[in-house]
């Protein structure tokens, strides 16, 4: 069956098209596009993607307003049923604000917006989204964010590490994130949030294709 994904667009999302293009390139079918005000999601979704951007102008806190939008109630409900959810950059911020992932993303420790390609180490290569990599593999993925400084209390961080829920880590300290965490999984493993942008590394013209394996793994396992 054709891969059936949805990309959610919030007011201020700006990577929704990139996400849709990446998904279409890998899956062969264009994802459905869903607006933040939609109270229901299309049925039978294989994957829900929350893109990067500056939803609601980052009012209050990054992702805080988007987390309250009508569609997010449906996303939380779908995630609870086990539907895979990928949140990238602002999408990660929205997932933490919606309570689907632990922790919070604060202002970068150096105060500056960071926009460059960084090396990541794949910590967990057995999840739905990371099975296309080898554990310990280094990949290069672009980051572009002002609020990527991952924070959780020490107990939560210990639990995440103990349960293999740190998906990716920055090789070099990037934004001040606790334990250099770049991406985390929920307990069930069907929700991944990450600050780096895999959808910006799927074609040679992007300068690298290390993000492609993430989408390929998801499509291979879900289609």
């Amino acid at each position: 069956m054709a891969f059936r994904a949805a990309v959610i667009t919030f007011p201020g999302s700006n990577c929704d098209r990139d996400m849709a293009v990446a998904l279409e390139k890998v899956a062969g079918t264009a994802p459905l596009r869903v607006w933040h005000g939609d109270a229901a999601l299309p049925d039978r979704l294989d994957l829900i993607a929350l893109p990067g951007g500056f939803s609601y102008g980052d009012y209050l806190r990054s992702g805080a307003m988007a987390a309250q939008s009508p569609v997010m109630r449906a996303v939380v409900e779908a995630a609870g049923r086990g539907v895979p959810v990928l949140g990238v950059c602002n999408g990660f911020q929205v997932l933490t604000e919606a309570g689907l992932l632990p922790g919070a993303l604060m202002r970068n420790a150096g105060q500056t917006f960071i926009c460059r390609t960084v090396p990541l180490v794949v910590e967990n290569a057995q999840s739905l989204f990371t099975a296309g990599y080898a554990a310990g593999q280094q990949i290069r993925i672009p980051v572009a964010h002002h609020d990527g400084n991952y924070f959780a209390d020490a107990d939560t961080l210990d639990r995440l590490e103990g349960e293999g829920r740190v998906a990716f880590r920055y090789v070099d300290t990037c934004n001040g994130s606790q334990r250099d965490i770049a991406g985390v999984l929920n307990m069930a493993g069907n929700v991944l949030g990450m600050m780096p942008h895999p959808e910006r590394a799927v074609e040679d013209d992007h300068g690298g294709t290390d993000g492609r394996a993430l989408f390929e793994a998801a499509v291979r396992q879900l289609a």
């Binding site: 805080a64 919070a104 105060q111 924070f151």
Partner: protein
């Protein structure tokens, strides 16, 4: 009823913004500034019969992020 919600970072949570402001104050020549923490003040005008429990819930569910922030509610008579 006027309500002020003061949102501040929890102790121990690094405040890069506060640190930058601290450096800027020192750059202006103000000596003796020990620490700077930047928070947020939210002013609400709510129905007089709004309960404390409802105000608490507003803070917990939206106005503050309980992972990193604390809040303090200040009601009109105290303002």
């Amino acid at each position: 009823m006027k309500v002020r919600v003061h949102v501040s970072l929890k102790p121990g949570v690094l405040d890069p913004q506060g640190r930058a402001v601290h450096h800027a104050l020192e750059g202006l020549g103000f000596a003796g500034v020990q620490d700077v923490r930047v928070g947020r003040l939210i002013e609400l005008d709510v129905a007089d019969d709004t309960t404390d429990a409802a105000l608490d819930e507003m803070c917990r569910r939206l106005l503050a992020n309980m992972v990193i922030e604390n809040y303090r509610i200040e009601k009109a008579e105290q303002v």
